[in-house]
Symmetry: C2
Subunit: 205 residues, 2 copies
């Protein structure tokens, strides 16, 4: 029954949009069935038809975040190697108001995710994929001679560590970490990794 199915999909999109607005306004701590129902002008009962529990709602919200991040990722021709690595990391940093708002939701999801094994597994898989993408760029940079040869897994984990921790600090102290300082710190970090033989690391000169 296509028509019925179309209605169902349309309603799901309405629900998704309402979930997104609640997250943007209140973070995961404010994400409740009631809040989403109110946002939609619907009853909690209708909402439980789509999401039987709070956990289903949170899982859906995490999927929305994933889709949003993929959709907003800068497209265009990526240079290979270190340039692509830099672009990937810049894309994560909260260096625009929109990126800050997205990161705020993302960081606030860690509480809900850590409290539930299934959600935690989903997050673990997400970060594993991020490391894989980063590792790909690291290997290409090594092939091009832009990064010294070293364990690419460890390098990818280190680079993602640096980036996630910078996100957290910048969210709490935006005035201490304006966009230009975020970029400077990232470039300093990459220059340190790329330090040519025979001199001090660029980022430390």
């Amino acid at each position: 029954m296509p028509r019925h199915k179309g209605d169902h999909e349309a309603r799901r999109r309405d629900v998704s949009a309402a979930v997104w607005r609640v997250l943007a306004a209140h973070g995961f701590g404010g994400l409740t069935l009631r809040a989403v129902a109110t946002e939609m002008g619907a009853t909690t009962g209708l909402l439980t038809h789509y999401f039987p529990s709070k956990k289903d709602l949170v899982a859906h919200a995490l999927t929305l975040l994933d889709e949003h991040r993929t959709a907003t990722r800068k497209a265009g021709p990526e240079p290979g190697g270190l340039g692509a690595l830099r672009a990937t990391l810049l894309d994560i940093l909260p260096s625009t108001p929109q990126a800050a708002a997205d990161n705020r939701i993302w960081v606030s999801s860690w509480d809900a995710a850590l409290a539930d094994p299934d959600l935690a597994a989903g997050h673990a898989a997400r970060y594993a994929r991020s490391r894989e993408r980063i590792r790909h760029h690291v290997r290409e940079a090594q092939r091009l001679g832009e990064l010294p040869s070293a364990d690419a897994d460890d390098l990818a984990a280190s680079v993602l560590s640096f980036t996630l921790g910078l996100v957290v600090q910048a969210l709490f102290s935006p005035q201490e970490f304006p966009p230009e300082r975020q970029v400077r710190l990232l470039d300093g970090h990459l220059a340190t990794l790329a330090a040519p033989a025979g001199g001090l690391p660029n980022g430390l000169r």
Copy 2:
């Protein structure tokens, strides 16, 4: 009236212990006046005498976390410079079950803190103090010639970024980030920063 004051203090300690147990079991997402009251075998009404609102409760929990972290910080004679920096960062990493449990609570507090300007300001001040402590060790390491001269503020922010991001990844993927790998990544990061002139950074050899 000392006796009354003593009772009040004793009760506050009971409440604090109950808050701690709720956090350890359910994270900040599970921290409600009702959960703490149940944990104490008390009424929500009694609890609101100490904490009029959920926000007061969360603020108290963050203070408890601070006290706990200060109390569990390894004492003993710290070597100056790079050794002290390494010890400070090792102290943060979730490299023991207890440190993992503490970090889990800490990371889960970010959701509540980001949703409230006052709590966010408290967290911003906490991380500023962390950077100050790290910067002190960085400066000492620079004085000793263990780290190249560079902007100590930026170095401290970078080192804390790396550490916080490693905490997050290790919490979600403990099997990929066992304690020995956490230490190896940290040592690799420090070796990169300390890279001597005339060779590749140690962490990248």
